[in-house]
């Protein structure tokens, strides 16, 4: 090899290009780093001391993470669904349905369901959480049964449940505003080191659990096998129907946790608009994270990074004073750009 001055730089570029195409998480990670740098520049350095800058930077970051924890948790389940070759459009609507059920249970007003049977305080909260999670799992299981036993395309099945959940919830919750008890809010707002970071902790714990499931368990690997080649998986003794049902059940469960988190953060829910569009946000996070819409190839870690990229971008647009109506356009650009830049199999 010659020792020309350009060699080192060429090697770096070769390494970079090689890693970009060979390692799927590399491109996502690089994109996130670029976004963080831009965001740091946008925040500026106009602070009296380094400490003041750092604390502002950290507060900014905990806001980003907290604001995206809800979508982040849903997108973990969505990753499994998409790896298995499916899609779940209903997550935004099941979110409000589950939220409504939880709030009806813990309502401190005269209509509160648990109050009427004399259950209050921590036992009531625990019961509401268990009921909410069970309800979410049930909704997911119904979708799973429609897809497997009913042989409906996931797009159609979840388009249907999306409409049903939203509409029924809105109808029954008309003119009823449940009162969420103050202690319930602690679930999301319990301070850790004086910071409101509980949602972030939940998100990362779930992300870790999902990562382990996807990499180490028979079920997690079977999800990839089903998405990669359903026929081959079935002939290899994989119970394809069970795997498919479980990914929707798991997503329903994650939506339930996200709904409980939202109720405890805000203390109320706007049934017409809450969660609306969150199915697309969750899908965006999964896709930006490098998971293939065709199924078979996907990464939990990528989804976490994908959710962060979208979150950081929102924050960046905010810092730069981009008008709110234009922000969705940037999300669109990010999704298209991310997929364009990812390594894709040649379609020929």
């Amino acid at each position: 090899m010659d020792d020309a001055p350009g060699t080192k730089r060429r090697n770096f570029f070769r390494w970079f290009a090689g890693s970009w195409t060979a390692r799927p998480l590399f491109s996502t990670g690089t994109a996130l780093i670029v976004m963080v740098i831009l965001q740091t520049l946008a925040l500026g350095f106009d602070f009296p001391t380094f400490g003041a800058w750092l604390s502002r930077w950290l507060v900014n970051w905990s806001n980003i993470l907290r604001n995206n924890a809800g979508i982040g948790i849903i997108s973990l389940g969505m990753t499994f669904v998409i790896i298995s070759g499916g899609i779940d459009l209903a997550v935004g609507s099941t979110l409000v349905a589950i939220g409504a059920v939880v709030m009806m249970l813990i309502d401190t007003g005269p209509k509160g369901l648990l109050l009427r049977i004399g259950l209050t305080g921590v036992p009531a909260y625990a019961a509401a959480i268990i009921a909410g999670v069970a309800f979410g799992a049930l909704l997911g299981e119904i979708t799973g049964i429609l897809v497997t036993k009913g042989k409906l395309p996931p797009f159609i099945a979840t388009l249907g449940t999306m409409k049903i959940c939203r509409s029924v919830t809105q109808h029954f919750m008309q003119g009823y505003t449940p009162q969420v008890p103050k202690p319930f809010l602690q679930i999301a707002s319990f301070p850790v080191f004086g910071q409101l970071i509980m949602p972030i902790i939940y998100w990362f714990i779930f992300a870790f659990i999902f990562y382990v499931i996807s990499k180490r368990t028979a079920f997690g690997r079977q999800v990839t096998a089903v998405g990669s080649n359903e026929r081959a998986a079935r002939l290899s003794g994989v119970s394809v129907q069970r795997v498919k049902r479980l990914v929707y059940t798991l997503t329903g469960t994650m939506v339930a946790f996200s709904a409980i988190l939202q109720v405890s953060r805000i203390g109320s829910m706007d049934y017409a608009n809450a969660g609306s569009g969150s199915e697309m946000d969750a899908i965006s996070a999964v896709i930006v994270g490098g998971t293939s819409m065709a199924g078979g190839r996907g990464f939990i870690l990528g989804t976490v990074l994908g959710a962060l990229i979208i979150g950081v971008m929102n924050n960046l647009l905010n810092l730069m004073g981009v008008p709110p109506f234009l922000r969705e356009a940037f999300k669109g650009v990010i999704v298209i750009g991310a997929v364009l830049l990812q390594k894709r199999e040649s379609s020929s």
Binding site: R216, A218, T224
Partner: protein, 498 residues
């Protein structure tokens, strides 16, 4: 037209795939391109087809240097590449498939269906073939699909047609149909490159041969001057066995028994029994229902009437999971569609069927998975880089061995292998036969489904010949020969002795 490829080099990463290969072809020749999987045949033809660029070397057409950077360049030069996986659109009729990308428009820009149909009919007539251009491609036999692709190549006025293993999924009669067309084309001056692993076909069809081994040309000449044995020796670099493998093993107790199995469509009144240590062949022509029969027994097909016994006790298999638990294993045909998990690594492709067994609390015991797979790698002599490389990085023969390891590792008592040597070269084929015999010696009841009578005769103790979903006869000993098998498979005679 005269085609000349000179001094072609190509490497992927560090490994050289083609090392200074020369290849030439004249009009009217049918040239066999032979070599084991990974010898570089496909790479060489992909370079000629403009699919991938060569690192070094030139291509001349009638003495003029050609520069193929993409498939369209090669097509324009009159070279048609018929890939092993046919590129037809199942949901369009034959005539529309003929014109995909080059549709004939009438006035106002609408498709001129009549013209496309009559043009297709003209080509078919020229090929002396009867096929309705309006038939849906989905409904065609594989041989007709192959012929439609060939017809498309002819319509484009191709003077060189590359056929990549055109007969690998065809039955004997279908092969004859394709061969007749190939001969007609050659007589009209078209040059044909015929890639195949089936040496006897090569002897029957081709005029010239070229053998590649490890990326270099090792032999070439006129087919009239060689035997299948010498061709096989050129390919693998040493002698290859062709005689019938030794029989007379001890057979044990009944492992799998079927009584009067019928379904609504594919098979009727099937009875058979296979014992521990026995190799049972099942053969027939296309539409004989053997794959559907055994898929149903394995719980992967439709339901059936009748009774299946495993180890003498009646069972009703409802799912593949249950079948594996009962000690059945079924390796499907067409590994690309039914076997390969393309997004997963070699290790996982080889061990997916045992995950439920080696998991504790849902977690895969990775040490055990690796240990069991390594045993198979040694046992089956799988050649690979790292076991966490993608399955698609392996050659066809090694992919097939990984598929075998997937079903062997579940320790089945009855192992059903559907076309186990499909798309596999001579060397790997022999190794697979050895594995089958070794499994039988260990007491496994092995069922080999194959459309190649030669393969059945070579490894099986006994063979069931099927015809249109029924058992036409069971042959063994001296009666297990190509002539008798073909007579039963074509329905020429129904065997009454059994």
């Amino acid at each position: 037209m005269k085609l000349d490829m000179r001094g072609i080099f190509k490497s992927f990463g560090a490994s050289g795939v083609l090392k200074n290969v020369d290849f030439s072809l004249e009009g009217g020749e049918i040239c066999a391109l032979l070599g084991e999987n990974g010898a570089g045949k496909s790479t060489l033809m992909n370079i000629l087809g403009g699919v991938i660029p060569a690192d070094r070397g030139e291509i001349y057409i009638d003495g003029a240097k050609a520069d193929f950077t993409q498939p369209i360049d090669s097509m324009r030069a009159g070279i048609a590449f018929i890939h092993q996986e046919l590129n037809l659109i199942n949901d369009l009729p034959v005539y529309e498939n003929m014109f995909v990308g080059r549709e004939i428009n009438g006035p106002f820009g609408f498709l001129d269906h009549d013209k496309m149909i009559s043009e297709t009919e003209r080509i078919f007539a020229m090929m002396e073939m009867e096929l309705d251009p309006r038939a849906m491609v989905r409904d065609l036999d594989p041989s007709y699909k192959q012929i439609v692709e060939t017809a498309r190549a002819i319509m484009m006025n191709s003077s060189v047609i590359i056929m990549d293993e055109p007969t690998s999924s065809l039955t004997e009669t279908e092969i004859e149909r394709v061969f007749a067309i190939v001969r007609t084309l050659a007589s009209r001056g078209v040059g044909i490159v015929f890639i195949s692993h089936k040496l006897r076909e090569v002897m029957r069809l081709c005029t010239r041969y070229v053998v590649l081994r490890d990326g270099s040309m090792v032999a070439s000449g006129s087919v009239a001057d060689v035997t299948t044995d010498s061709l096989a020796r050129f390919m693998v670099g040493h002698d290859v066995r062709t005689e019938t493998l030794q029989r007379g093993r001890q057979v044990g107790r009944s492992v799998l028994k079927a009584e009067n199995l019928s379904d609504s469509k594919f098979f009727r009144g099937v009875n058979f029994e296979v014992k521990s240590g026995e190799v049972l062949g099942v053969t027939g022509l296309l539409g004989d229902g053997r794959s559907e029969l055994f898929q149903s027994i394995f719980g992967a097909g439709g339901g059936y009437a009748g009774q299946v016994y495993i180890d003498g006790s009646p069972v009703k298999v409802k799912s593949t999971t249950q079948a594996l638990n009962l000690g059945l294993a079924y390796q499907p045909r067409n590994r690309k569609e039914n076997g390969i998990l393309k997004d997963m690594d070699i290790l996982e492709n080889g061990s997916i069927s045992i995950w439920p067994v080696i998991s504790k609390f849902g977690f895969i015991d990775r040490a055990r998975q690796g240990e069991l797979f390594d045993r198979q790698v040694k046992n089956l002599r799988i050649k690979m880089g790292g076991r966490t490389d993608l399955i698609t990085s392996l050659s066809g023969g090694n992919q097939q061995k990984v598929m075998l390891s997937r079903w062997i590792s579940s320790d089945p008592r009855a192992l059903i292998l559907d076309n186990p040597t499909q798309g596999v070269d001579v060397g790997a084929k022999e190794e697979i036969y050895d594995i089958i015999l070794k499994l039988a010696d260990e007491g496994v009841a092995v069922i080999v489904l194959s459309s190649e009578a030669g393969e059945i005769i070579r490894v099986c103790d006994r063979a069931i010949v099927m015809y249109h979903g029924r058992i036409a006869g069971i042959v063994s000993g001296d009666r297990m020969n190509e002539h008798d098998i073909m007579r039963l498979a074509t329905g020429a005679e129904s065997d009454r002795e059994v």
